[in-house]
Amino acid sequence: MSWTRMQMAERLAREFEDGWIVNLGVGMPTLIADVPLGDREVVFHSENGVIGYGPVTPPGQEDLHLVNAGGQNVTLLPGAAIVHHADSFALIRGGRMDVTVMGAYEAAANGDFANWKVKGAKGGGIGGAMDLAASAKRVFLMLEHRTRDGSPRLLPRCTLPITARGVVTLVATDLGLFAPTGEGFAVRDLAPGVTLDEVRAATACPVTE
């Protein structure tokens, strides 16, 4: 039984340490803002200059002046601050993000990853991904282990144009939690009922325990 997206979010959030500054990318990673963290307190940073945001607002209560990186209307927690885009990316490039969590198309054994351009496209969508990937202390990825047609997304090397070189710390997929080793991926956790053989069959490079 593989993990749901929410379970992937919960599993990654277990890695957060108290006091971390956490940047959540567009898509799946935004689920993490709703994961209860118990005693741990982290500060969520959004690339558009929002420091200290909380859950998505319930319908009808949206503040239309306030969105997260995914364009969702969110709340502010006490102690929040707003800065402009250059200051926001100063925090990113300046190494203040303890972790950035992003979606991806591919993750590679050498720590590269790709999340901005699909095969055959003329353009793409970079957003803040290259800045975050280059400068966050840790890069966590969330992605389905295989594409819709069953091809592996965890590869020896990326086939798509990369977002940054050698930066990936952890990769959460529906099958488990993995860390790139250079040659392949090491299992950090498996979804309940998922076997190592299943992961190996779904991965294009060596998977070690």
């Binding site: 935004t30 558009n48 353009g123 970079i126 280059a134």
Partner: protein, 255 residues
């Protein structure tokens, strides 16, 4: 346009113009225009609509995105593209974040009718700031090792490879603010701020649609100003809907 570069004064010179059409009057063909906004907050919907009516051509448009993947659709750069006004865009997205979404801009780009320069978002912000700060170029670790850095100048500083990036100067910035005073001082509300202060720094002429009635000079405490008035040339107050365009709840709540 009537203003000299960087023209501005505190109070006596009236920066308030009558309507959106007056605000965008004189923007010439070939101008480089920066548009504030990240998702909906900060997008100068009314000024974009007026620029469409005004008709300036061969524009270079700088913004985070060209817009248009959301419902309901609001005035965006994609509309200026459809209107035949745009030669080039400089954006951090030239495609939608979901593969299933198609930006109105994209087919024009794929057919080669509009040029595009894709820039990482933090580099875009920093290049705008650099233009406003008289910094002609800087080094950044962002995009090193990617397709964007191919053939470009890098060097190693403190053991790290970094990429040379140039300032991105702007002729006209179109912005949306929450409050303004007659001296042109601006305040933004929440994430409406985003690129606006940087675009104001980078631009020769700054035109702002303002959500609240324009305040007398001095009504904003000097400590609370987000963008100083000496950078701002034209202000226009946004009338209530339906005459003014205001943000609406999006049907698809993701960028």
């Amino acid at each position: 346009m009537a203003e000299r570069d960087g023209d501005g004064s505190m109070t006596r010179r009236n920066k308030v113009v009558a309507d959106f059409d007056a605000a965008v009057a004189g923007i010439p063909d070939g101008a480089t225009i920066a548009f504030g906004g990240f998702a909906q907050p900060g997008v100068p919907f009314n000024l974009i609509a007026a620029l469409g009516r005004q008709g300036a051509k061969r524009l270079t448009c700088i913004a985070n995105t060209t817009g248009g993947a959301h419902k309901p659709r609001m005035p965006d750069i994609g509309m200026l593209v459809e209107n035949g006004q745009v030669a080039k865009v400089v954006c951090s997205f030239t495609a939608a974040t979901r593969a299933s979404d198609m930006l109105p801009f994209t087919p024009y780009y794929e057919r080669g009718e509009v040029e595009a320069e894709i820039v990482p978002q933090g580099t875009l912000a920093e290049r705008l700031r650099a233009a406003g700060a008289g910094i002609p170029a800087f080094y950044t670790p962002t995009a090193v090792g990617t397709e964007l850095a191919e053939g470009r100048e890098t060097r190693v500083i403190n053991g790290r490879e970094v990429l040379l990036e140039y300032a991105l100067p702007v002729d006209v910035a179109l912005l949306r603010a929450h409050q303004a005073d007659e001296a042109g001082n601006l305040r933004f509300r929440r994430s409406q701020r985003n690129f606006a202060p940087l675009m104001a720094m980078a631009a020769k002429t700054v035109i702002v649609e303002v959500e609240e009635p324009i305040l007398p000079a001095g009504a904003i405490d000097p400590d609370d100003v987000h963008t100083p008035g000496i950078l701002v040339q034209r202000l226009v107050a946004i009338p209530p809907p339906p005459h003014g365009i205001w943000p609406v709840r999006r049907e698809v709540p993701a960028r």
